[in-house]
């Protein structure tokens, strides 16, 4: 398939990134290789969207630091970047809304781009092309296909997919919207478990074509929880997170017993919201 026929994809990863680890970064690389290899997609960008402080997860340190660490981690990446919109919102934002925000941003950007998009060749040639277009407007072959807007897809690990089953954590209409309007790319070791999970959910099953399961053969157990635990115990996290992130954590003494106690006893924002919605 020619490049012009491929769907352009933007991978969006939401999460605490508390802290960001090499595993998070690997998700992007694996997803990009997978999607590009299907021949139908072309991954053009990766976005890391750290969750806002209002999420109120236990041990969640300030978004300010988490954003900086993610930026340090992606300093050497040519295509993955950090977006702070979600983290700057005063209230917690549902993932479906974050997806919508980024999709709309792409659509808005695309309109501007199409109006100003530079034509290949010299100005003289541009005029000629425009004239040709008016003359041959009926011959669609000569008319270049308008560039489709890139599609945002949610990038995640199996833990997020399976969290769909946690009572009151996700709104069912959000889950439907995520898989129907956007799509999911899920990196997992246990492909069979993930497939079974999809099979057992009507909403997921209906849109299974929009859920891409990417098998990662090597076990990569680097989770933020383990990183924080190692830090509390004075153990090295070298080579588990990018060097710049490790240095930043050390310099600011970000993770210790105190930081892990943050938000203890506080109800997680999505759960709080479901209760509020139910009562309203």
């Amino acid at each position: 398939m020619e490049n012009s026929e491929k769907t352009e994809v933007v991978l969006l990863a939401c999460g605490s990134f508390n802290p960001i680890t090499n595993m998070h970064l690997r998700l992007f690389e694996l997803a990009k290789d997978y999607m590009n290899e299907t021949g139908k997609y072309r991954v053009i960008k990766g976005i890391i969207s750290p969750v806002g402080d209002a999420y109120k997860k236990k041990g969640l340190i300030s978004a300010h630091h988490r954003v900086i660490m993610a930026e340090l981690a992606t300093k050497n990446s040519e295509w993955v970047e950090v977006d702070t919109w979600e983290s700057l919102q005063k209230e917690w934002v549902e993932t479906a809304k974050v997806l919508r925000h980024h999709q709309e941003k792409l659509e808005a950007g695309s309109c501007d781009h199409q109006q100003d998009s530079p034509m290949p060749g010299k100005p003289g040639q541009k005029r000629k092309w425009v004239e040709q277009r008016q003359d041959f407007s009926q011959k669609k072959l000569l008319e270049p296909k308008p560039k489709d807007v890139p599609k945002v897809k949610l990038l995640c690990g199996a833990d997020l997919l399976e969290s769909f089953a946690v009572p009151n954590l996700w709104k069912s209409e959000d889950i439907t919207q995520i898989v129907e309007d956007y799509g999911l790319i899920c990196i997992t070791r246990a492909g069979n478990d993930a497939q079974k999970f999809i099979y057992e959910s009507d909403a997921l099953w209906k849109h299974r074509n929009n859920i891409h399961l990417v098998n990662e053969w090597i076990t990569n157990d680097i989770s933020s929880t383990k990183i924080r635990r190692a830090l509390r115990r004075g153990q090295s996290i070298r080579y588990l997170v990018p060097d710049l992130v490790q240095e930043y954590i050390e310099k600011h003494d970000l993770y210790n017993c105190e930081s892990e106690e943050k938000n203890v006893g506080v109800i997680l924002a999505p759960l709080q919201r479901q209760v509020a919605d139910a009562n309203s």
Binding site: R26, E29, L30, D33, W217, T219, N220, D221, K226, R229
Partner: protein, 215 residues
């Protein structure tokens, strides 16, 4: 009880002739790049620069004697003729390996028994766990290892990571990204020198010579 003062990576000699083994000078260069930011681990090319492959115990002996030579000499009544160093001040050199290497001690004819004994008796082993391996079993299953088990330190990796060079080489030959699995500097080096591409895999002898080596 212990204080680790240094780490040495000693890439194997090309004479080992393991399949897909790229030239030693590349492997040394890549290790050096990977260790650029480490303040305590370094590469030592001595083993790779020898004329032929040599048994691990000989490498241990070499580095141990180098360690002793580099110690500050005490010039007492002997006026420097004899080196007298307090026993507690002598650093110990231990073989660091994955559990897969410990398992290879069992492979018939791969290691000389005398060497295994010297390694665990005179030096010591620090063995990091690896998925699918049970080092305690290997130790209890071998009389030599069992006898010197106090000198075999089993390290449990709190964060399991099944990364292996074999996986990396395979991913590279398939054109897949290995970013964040290797230091960026090493990835650039591999790219610049066209290593581990689909065509460049060297079909070396697949029969292993003495001793198992990890990736």
């Amino acid at each position: 009880m212990y204080q680790v003062i240094g780490g040495i990576i000693s890439p194997v000699n090309d004479g080992y002739r393991k399949q897909d083994l790229v030239a030693a000078h590349h492997r040394v260069a890549m290790a050096r790049l990977a260790l650029q930011t480490s303040d305590w681990v370094q590469v030592d090319p001595w083993e790779s620069e020898q004329v032929q492959w040599m048994e691990t115990v000989k490498v241990l002996r070499h580095h141990h004697s180098e360690l002793l030579r580099s110690l500050p000499q005490t010039e007492g009544q002997d006026h420097g003729r004899a080196r007298s160093v307090a026993p507690t001040a002598v650093p110990e050199l231990k073989l660091l390996c994955g559990a897969d290497v410990l398992k290879t001690f069992q492979t018939p004819n791969l290691w000389k028994d005398a060497h295994i004994q010297e390694i665990v008796e005179k030096f010591g082993v620090v063995c990091v766990s690896r998925t699918g391996h049970n080092p305690k079993e290997y130790i209890s299953g071998s009389p030599i290892l069992h006898r010197y088990q106090h000198n075999i330190h089993l390290v449990r990796e709190p964060v399991q990571n099944e990364l292996s060079s074999t996986y990396i080489r395979r991913a590279l030959s398939q054109g897949r990204s290995v970013k964040y699995l290797l230091p960026d500097a090493v990835i650039s080096y591999i790219k610049d020198h066209n290593l581990y591409t689909r065509d460049s895999s060297w079909k070396g002898s697949s029969t292993q010579r003495n001793e198992g080596k990890t990736d």
